[in-house]
C-alpha cells in the first residue's frame, strides 16, 4: 500500500478525503465479479428510483 508504487504523486487534498472512505464496502465489492457488481448497481439504482417516487408521492399527499 505504499504510494511509491502508484503511477502518480499523492495529492494532499485527495489524501484528506481518503481517510473517510469506507473500505469495508470496497472489500465486499472486490469479492464479486464485474457482472455481480453491475447487478448490485442496478438493484441500488432501482431502489433509489423507488425511494424518489415514494418521496414525491409523500410530498404530494402533504400538499393536498
Amino acid at each position: 500500500m505504499t504510494s511509491a508504487r502508484l503511477p502518480y504523486e499523492p495529492d494532499p487534498v485527495i489524501e484528506a478525503y481518503k481517510k473517510d472512505v469506507d473500505r469495508t464496502l470496497l472489500r465486499e465489492n472486490l469479492k464479486l465479479t464485474p457482472t455481480q457488481r453491475l447487478d448490485k448497481l442496478s438493484s441500488l439504482q432501482s431502489f433509489a428510483a423507488e425511494l424518489r417516487r415514494a418521496g414525491k408521492a409523500a410530498r404530494a399527499a402533504q400538499q393536498s
Binding site: 500500500m1 503511477p7 485527495i14 473517510d20 472512505v21 473500505r23 470496497l26 465489492n29 464485474p34 433509489a48
Partner: protein, 154 residues
C-alpha cells in the same frame, strides 16, 4: 445492448468505477465512442430505438439522433429509455477512443466483452479533469486501488 450491436465503446466514469469495485452509486453511464463512419452509424442505429434526447433540453427541439449529428458534435449528454447516457468523443486526460483502447481492459459483463478503462487510468482521467466534485470519487478509487494492490489484484 450497445456492445452486442458491435458498437465500439469504452466504459468510463462511475459505472466503470463500480465495475472495478467502487461503492459509489451513479445515475448515468459514460462511454467514449469511436468516431469513424462505421461506428457512428452502428451507434446511431443501436441507440435510436431507445429515443435518445438531449438531457436538460426543452422538449420538442428538432433533435435527430443519427450518424450525421454524431459527426457534427463530439460529446453528448443524453436521456433515453435506457437511462441517462453520456457519449464522449474525447475525454480530458485520456484522449479519444484510439488513444484509450490499447490501455483498456476487457471485462466480461453478462457474457459480453466490454472495454473498460483500467482503474489507474480512470483515476488519471478524473485527476486530469480537476473537478472539485470528483475529489471524493478520486479518493475512493485510489483507496480501491490500494486495496487491490494489497490483495495482488492489480
Amino acid at each position: 445492448m450497445l456492445v452486442g450491436s458491435g458498437v465500439e465503446l469504452i466504459l468510463i466514469g462511475g459505472v466503470a468505477g463500480f465495475a472495478h469495485g467502487s461503492a459509489r452509486l451513479t445515475q448515468d453511464i459514460d462511454f467514449v465512442y469511436r468516431r469513424n463512419e462505421e461506428n457512428l452509424m452502428r451507434l446511431a442505429e443501436a441507440l435510436k430505438p431507445h429515443h435518445p434526447y438531449l438531457r436538460g433540453a426543452p422538449p420538442g427541439l428538432p433533435f435527430k439522433f443519427d450518424a450525421e449529428t454524431l459527426k457534427r458534435g463530439l460529446n453528448f449528454t443524453l436521456t433515453s429509455d435506457l437511462g441517462d447516457i453520456d457519449l464522449l468523443g474525447e475525454v480530458t486526460g485520456g484522449g479519444t477512443y484510439e488513444d484509450l483502447a490499447p490501455q483498456c481492459e476487457k471485462l466480461d459483463v453478462y457474457g459480453q466483452p466490454v472495454l473498460c478503462l483500467t482503474l489507474p487510468l480512470l483515476i488519471a482521467t478524473k485527476r486530469a479533469a480537476g473537478r472539485p466534485k470528483d475529489f471524493e470519487a478520486i479518493a475512493e478509487l485510489e483507496a480501491l486501488e490500494e486495496e487491490r494492490r494489497a490483495t495482488g489484484d492489480l
